[in-house]
Symmetry: C2
Subunit: 289 residues, 2 copies
């Protein structure tokens, strides 16, 4: 069955089309909004796809407005897809989608952590893993000139965690994986402990391990092409991101990875936009090889 896609906006940019779309998601039981940039291309041509998973509090719009990816994607003829970070708004059955209840920015709305929740009241709607891994790729393949045999994935912070863990669980799907300031070991940091505990249960460490990049690597998962950029002036580095844990996990596993500390850069889109062009072109080289 072809999902109906509602077009919320389209704007010509860098010769292509930046669009925003909405559809009813069977996974989350809500309307979901996402952004897609499709470069100029020839009739019948299909293009590689680069996924971008966003961080806490973000929607599809943050990277669309501030990410500065369109020039490189247009040059390299790569489709760029930016999903939302959680279900939002009323569910399709009319029930409200559970929020975090205390207004926290790091749990509930805008903070889905790319998991399939198992704990009530989140289990029905917070199915971002299945949404990102299964439902949305099918929609992108059906509605855009996408070559799903050529996919790569990137993300920022919570979305860097998402990119790493989605790829580590699906290593043959992605030609390359990168991340900006990712949460690399959520089981070991406050943001992650709160989210994994809240969505998956405070004691279900086996399930947590499916959503922890360092744990997945320790359990044997491997990525052939991994690039991480992390600002050394990032206020979340020491407590929440702990890039060194990924470096150590890769070293212990004998997995090659390019993990770079960028001096003076913080956690913001000023950092992301600075290195976005390089990430897109690094992915492009691997998507086309």
């Amino acid at each position: 069955m072809m999902t109906t896609l509602e077009t919320l906006s389209t704007n010509k940019a860098f010769g292509g089309v930046q669009g925003v779309y909405r559809h009813d998601s069977g996974e989350t039981g809500t309307a979901m909004t996402f952004a897609v940039f499709v470069p100029d291309h020839d009739p019948g041509e299909t293009l590689p796809v680069l996924w971008y998973l966003s961080g806490l509090t973000c929607t599809h719009a943050n990277v669309m407005e501030k990410g500065e990816y369109r020039r490189a994607c247009a040059d390299e003829r790569i489709i760029f897809v930016a999903p939302d970070t959680s279900p939002r708004g009323p569910a399709m059955d009319g029930q409200p989608v559970p929020d975090d209840a205390d207004g926290a920015y790091d749990f509930g709305l805008g903070a889905g952590f790319y998991v399939d929740a198992t704990v009530e009241p989140f289990a029905r709607n917070y199915r971002m893993r299945s949404y990102i891994e299964t439902e949305l790729p099918a929609i992108v393949g059906a509605h855009f000139p996408a070559d799903l045999a050529a996919q790569s994935i990137t993300g920022h912070s919570m979305g860097g965690h998402g990119a790493l863990t989605v790829a580590l669980r699906n290593p043959n799907r992605f030609k390359s994986v990168s991340a900006f300031s990712p949460i690399v070991a959520p089981s070991q940091v406050p943001w992650g402990v709160k989210a994994l505990g809240g969505y998956l249960g405070t004691n279900d460490f086996e399930t947590w391990a499916q959503y922890d990049a360092c744990a997945l690597i320790a359990a044997g998962a491997r990525l052939p092409n991994l690039l991480v950029d992390q600002g050394d002036a990032d206020q979340f580095l020491d407590e929440q991101l702990k890039t060194d844990l990924l470096r150590e996990a890769c070293a212990t596993a004998g997995m090659k990875a390019m993990i770079r500390m960028q001096p003076g850069y913080d956690h913001s889109y000023y950092f992301i936009s600075t290195f976005m062009d390089e990430h897109v072109r690094w992915h492009a080289a691997r998507l086309k090889s």
Copy 2:
């Protein structure tokens, strides 16, 4: 006297520093906020300055977030300055700054039109011409490594009008002038008639002519280097922007100008960001010649 500058934020980006600053303005009688990007540079080096004047409803933040100018400015070592579009907030004497009173987006707050108002209640605070032409350049020169002998100016929509008219009144100050989707003849279009009438009086056409690019050209003002990009899918083109009036004014005056219609582009920052890199590099060539 050295104006005190309050630093609201700084973020490292593209090797330089994107900052946001606030100061008490003698011209507007209010606190004014502006953004400056200073590329990486050598100790003691001063850099050319590119001014960017924003459009209706904008602050310094819109272009800072969506304009995609930092890569080219960093490459070309050009300082990029983005002022606000009107006085805002309480005046320094405690009086409220007059708004448009009816919530309109095209008059009052966010819509200063780069004029020195002569009509009450706007005359005290709406002094954006003097702020942009005199006060802010002195502040930029005093607080940043700016070479004020090398300035260029650009802007969008109302800010394109601002860039054109500031430059036409000060032709020796700027090495080059460009605009994205500018209002070229405010005396002849609804936005302009409302603003010039409201700030300058409904019958003071002599003063209006100082704030109308086409009228200034007709009266003899000339610019040696002028570049305009205009999307042909811009919803404001036919009623408010009327690019052809600028083309005709230049032709009548025998003034060379590069005025380009860009097929399929609209009035948004998706358009601006697409051509920003080219504008920065076009200015750079003239700033350094």
